[in-house]
C-alpha cells in the first residue's frame, strides 16, 4: 500500500508541474494586463514603471522562474486589482464554492443512485424509461439554461426561493456556511440543484448500466437460490458491486464540480471562486487566474488520490494486490 501511495504521489507531482507550465504560458499569451489596469491617460514612462514594478518587463522564462520559486514558498503572487495575495482572495471564496459543490454532490448521489438502480432493475417499465428520458434532458440541456429556467420557475413564477446570493450565513470553525440557516438553505437549493443536475444524470446512467450488468451475474442468481429477500440482494449484493465504478466517477466529478461551478455561480450570483475567476479574467488579473488554476489542479489531483484509496477499500481485490506490489 505504501509503495503504491508513493508511486501515486509521484504521478500527482508530475501532473502539477506540467500544469504549472501550461497555465503560466497560457496566461502570458492572453495579453498585457497593464493595458487594462492602468489609467489610459498615463504616460509611457508611467506604464513602463508599472510594468517594472509588477515584473512584467522581464522575459517569460525569468517570470516563470520567479513564479515557481515563490510558489514553492507558498506565494502565488499579489493580485493586480486587490493588492492582496491572490491565494488569500481565492481562499476567502473557497468555502462558498466547496459548500455548493458538496451539497450538489450529495444531491446527485442520493438521488442519482436510487433512480439509476431502479431504472436498472426494471429497464422496460414506465418508471425506468421515464428516469432514462429525464437523465437525457439533464445531460443535454445547457447548464446555464437549466439555471435560468430554475430561476424563472421557482424564483419568478412561484416565488418560493430566492434567485441569487448566498443569504444568511453562520460561522462554523471560522468558515462561513449557508446550509445551517433557513435563509441560507433557501439560497442554496437552486444553485446546488443546478450544479447537481448534470452529475445526477451521469450517476443515473452509470448506476443503471452497472445494475443491469450485475443483475446478469451468476452471483445474483445464486443469492436468489439461497433464498435471500430481494431487498437484501439489491441493497447488499448489487449495490456494493455497482458502488465501485460509481465512486470512481463521483470522485473525478467532484473535482470538476469545484473547479467549474463557474457557470452556476455566475447565473446565481453565488460569491464563490468561479465568479472570482470570471471577474479576474475580465480584468486580466494574472496572479489570481494562475493561483486559481493551480489550486484547481491541486484539488483535482488530491481528490483522484483519495478516490484511489477509497476504491481499494471497496474492492478487496485491489487492496490485496497492492499489498504485494
Amino acid at each position: 500500500m505504501i509503495v503504491y501511495l508513493v508511486r501515486r504521489l509521484g504521478q500527482s507531482l508530475v501532473a502539477i508541474a506540467a500544469m504549472a507550465v501550461l497555465v503560466f504560458v497560457g496566461v502570458y499569451a492572453i495579453g498585457n494586463p497593464v493595458d487594462i489596469l492602468i489609467n489610459p491617460e498615463s504616460t509611457q514612462a508611467q506604464i513602463a514603471a508599472t510594468m517594472q514594478r509588477l515584473g512584467l518587463d522581464r522575459p517569460l522564462w525569468e517570470q516563470f522562474g520567479i513564479f515557481v520559486w515563490n510558489a514553492l514558498h507558498g506565494d502565488l503572487g499579489i493580485s493586480f486589482v486587490y493588492g492582496r495575495p491572490a491565494m488569500q482572495i481565492i481562499l476567502e471564496r473557497l468555502p462558498a464554492t466547496m459548500e455548493l459543490a458538496l451539497v450538489a454532490l450529495v444531491l446527485s448521489v442520493s438521488i442519482g443512485i436510487p433512480l439509476g438502480v431502479l431504472a436498472g432493475l426494471k429497464p422496460n417499465s414506465i418508471g425506468g424509461r421515464s428516469i432514462m428520458a429525464g437523465s437525457i434532458l439533464g445531460f443535454s440541456l445547457p447548464n446555464f439554461w437549466q439555471g435560468m429556467l430554475l430561476i424563472l420557475i421557482f424564483a419568478v413564477l412561484l416565488g418560493w426561493l430566492p434567485a441569487g446570493g448566498r443569504g444568511e450565513t453562520v460561522e462554523v470553525l471560522g468558515i462561513r456556511v449557508s446550509f445551517l440557516t433557513l435563509d441560507g438553505l433557501k439560497h442554496l437549493i437552486l444553485p446546488a440543484m443546478n450544479l447537481a443536475l448534470f452529475k445526477m444524470s451521469l450517476v443515473i446512467r452509470l448506476a443503471r448500466a452497472n445494475t443491469r450488468e450485475v443483475c446478469l451475474q451468476d452471483y445474483v442468481k445464486y443469492a436468489r437460490a439461497k433464498g435471500l429477500s430481494s431487498r437484501r440482494i439489491v441493497l447488499v449484493h448489487i449495490l456494493k458491486n455497482i458502488l465501485i465504478p460509481v465512486v470512481t466517477i463521483i470522485g473525478l466529478e467532484l473535482g470538476s464540480m469545484v473547479a467549474f461551478a463557474i457557470v452556476t455561480e455566475t447565473v446565481f450570483a453565488w460569491p464563490g471562486m468561479g465568479k472570482l475567476l470570471i471577474d479576474s479574467i475580465n480584468l486580466l488579473d494574472r496572479p489570481v487566474i494562475v493561483a486559481y488554476l493551480m489550486l484547481t489542479v491541486l484539488i483535482i489531483v488530491t481528490i483522484n488520490l483519495v478516490v484511489d484509496v477509497i476504491y481499494s477499500l471497496l474492492d478487496p481485490r485491489v487492496r490485496l494486490s497492492e499489498v504485494d506490489a
Binding site: 451475474q217 451468476d218 452471483y219 442468481k221 445464486y222 443469492a223 436468489r224 437460490a225 439461497k226 433464498g227 435471500l228 429477500s229 437484501r232 447488499v236 449484493h237 456494493k240 458491486n241 465501485i244 471497496l314 474492492d315 478487496p316 481485490r317 490485496l320
Partner: protein, 328 residues
C-alpha cells in the same frame, strides 16, 4: 418415498424471434436419498429444468404448464412466495462456475451467515457457528480463518466446497447441482464427487446432478434421464442405461466418450448439431441426426416404457441387439 414429482413441466422463453421451448413436457420423480443424473448437450434444457424447479427462470422465460410436486405441495401453484421459503432451505442449488457464484466483494462469512438468517431467526453468533461446522464438513481446514476471507483468495475447488457448504447449511431435502464439477480439475472433481456421494449416503438427501459428462454421472447417479431439445428421451437405472442404451441419441452420446482408443483412430461422434429451439424439426427432434430415422419418425414418438423400469422416446429403439444377445 417420493420427494419430488415433476409432471409435464414446460418452460418456454418468449423471445422476439419466437417461442423457444427450452423445457417441453418433462416428467420425472425422485425419492429421498436418490441421485438423479440429468444428462444432455448444451441447449438441451437440462439447466433450465433445474432453474424451473427453484422458480429461478429469468424473463423472458417462464413456466407455462406442468406440476412440480415437492413433498406433497405443488410449487408451480404456490408460486414465488412458496418457492422463496423453500430456496436455500429445503431445496439448495450448486452452480456450475464457482468463480462466478460467490459475490466477489463480500466476505465468506457474510455470504454464509445471510443464508442462515434468511430462513431462521437465530443470533449471528450461532449462525456463524453453523457456518463453521458446514465448512469443516466439506473438508475445509481452519474454517475460522477461511470465514474472514474473500472469494478471490480461494482456489476453484475450495470455492465449490464453500458452495456445497452453503447448500448444506439448512440440511436440505434436495440439492440441485448444475454441472458443479465442470469447471474443476479432474483430481478436484474426483474429490468433490466422492464427498458428495458420502454426504448423500450419510444424510439421506436427494440430488439432481445436471451434467453433459456421462463419465461423471455413471459412477454417481442412481437414475439417469437423458434430455434432448427440451424433452426427456430416455430414462432408467444408470448402470443399465450406460450398458445398453435404448435411444439412438443416448447410444451416440455414450459412444462419443473417448475411452482408450488407439492413437490416430477417429473418435465417434453424432453427426450434425443440436437443433435450434426456435426451429425444431417436425416429429422426433433427433430425426435429422439419427441413423435409424424413417418415415414413421415424422410423428412425435411418446416416452414409452420399453422394458421394466426403462423408457425411451423412440420408434426404433435398440432392442434388437438385446434380443440377439439374449438369444445367443
Amino acid at each position: 418415498m417420493t420427494l419430488l414429482q415433476v409432471e409435464d413441466l414446460a418452460t418456454h422463453f418468449f423471445t422476439r424471434d419466437g417461442v423457444a421451448k427450452a423445457v417441453d413436457g418433462v416428467s420425472f420423480s425422485l425419492d429421498r436419498g436418490e441421485i438423479l443424473g440429468l444428462v444432455g448437450e448444451s441447449g438441451s434444457g437440462k439447466s433450465v429444468t433445474g432453474f424451473s424447479l427453484l422458480g429461478l427462470v429469468d424473463p423472458p422465460g417462464r413456466i407455462v404448464s406442468g406440476k412440480i410436486v415437492f413433498d406433497g405441495e405443488d410449487l408451480v401453484k404456490g408460486g414465488e412466495p412458496m418457492m422463496r421459503t423453500l430456496r436455500g432451505k429445503r431445496i439448495a442449488m450448486i452452480f456450475q462456475d464457482p468463480m462466478m457464484t460467490l459475490n466477489p466483494v463480500l466476505r465468506i462469512d457474510t455470504q454464509m451467515v445471510e443464508t442462515v438468517l434468511a430462513h431462521e431467526r437465530i443470533s449471528r453468533k450461532s449462525a456463524l457457528e453453523r457456518c463453521r461446522e458446514a465448512l469443516a464438513r466439506v473438508g475445509i481446514a481452519s474454517p475460522d480463518e477461511r470465514l474472514k476471507s474473500y472469494p478471490h483468495q480461494f482456489s476453484g475447488g475450495m470455492r465449490q466446497r464453500v458452495a456445497i457448504a452453503i447448500a448444506l447449511l439448512h440440511e436440505p431435502d434436495l440439492i440441485i447441482a448444475d454441472e458443479p464439477t465442470t469447471a474443476l480439475d479432474v483430481t478436484i472433481q474426483a474429490q468433490i464427487l466422492s464427498e458428495v456421494q458420502k454426504l448423500c449416503a450419510d444424510t439421506g438427501l436427494a440430488m439432481i446432478w445436471i451434467t453433459h459428462d456421462l463419465a461423471v454421472v455413471s459412477g454417481l447417479a442412481d437414475q439417469l434421464a437423458v434430455m434432448y431439445a427440451g424433452k426427456i428421451i430416455e430414462t432408467g437405472e444408470t448402470g443399465r442405461v450406460i450398458e445398453a442404451p435404448l435411444h439412438p441419441y443416448t447410444k451416440g452420446l455414450i459412444a462419443s466418450v473417448p475411452q482408450g482408443q488407439k492413437h490416430g483412430a477417429l473418435l465417434a461422434q453424432i453427426p450434425g448439431t443440436t437443433p435450434s429451439l426456435l426451429n425444431l424439426p417436425e416429429g422426433c427432434s433427433f430425426r435429422p441426426r439419427c441413423p435409424r430415422a424413417d418415415a414413421a419418425c415424422q410423428e412425435e414418438p411418446p416416452l414409452g416404457a420399453l422394458l421394466p423400469g426403462r423408457a425411451a422416446r423412440c420408434f426404433h429403439p435398440h432392442l434388437d441387439e438385446r434380443r440377439e444377445a439374449l438369444a445367443s
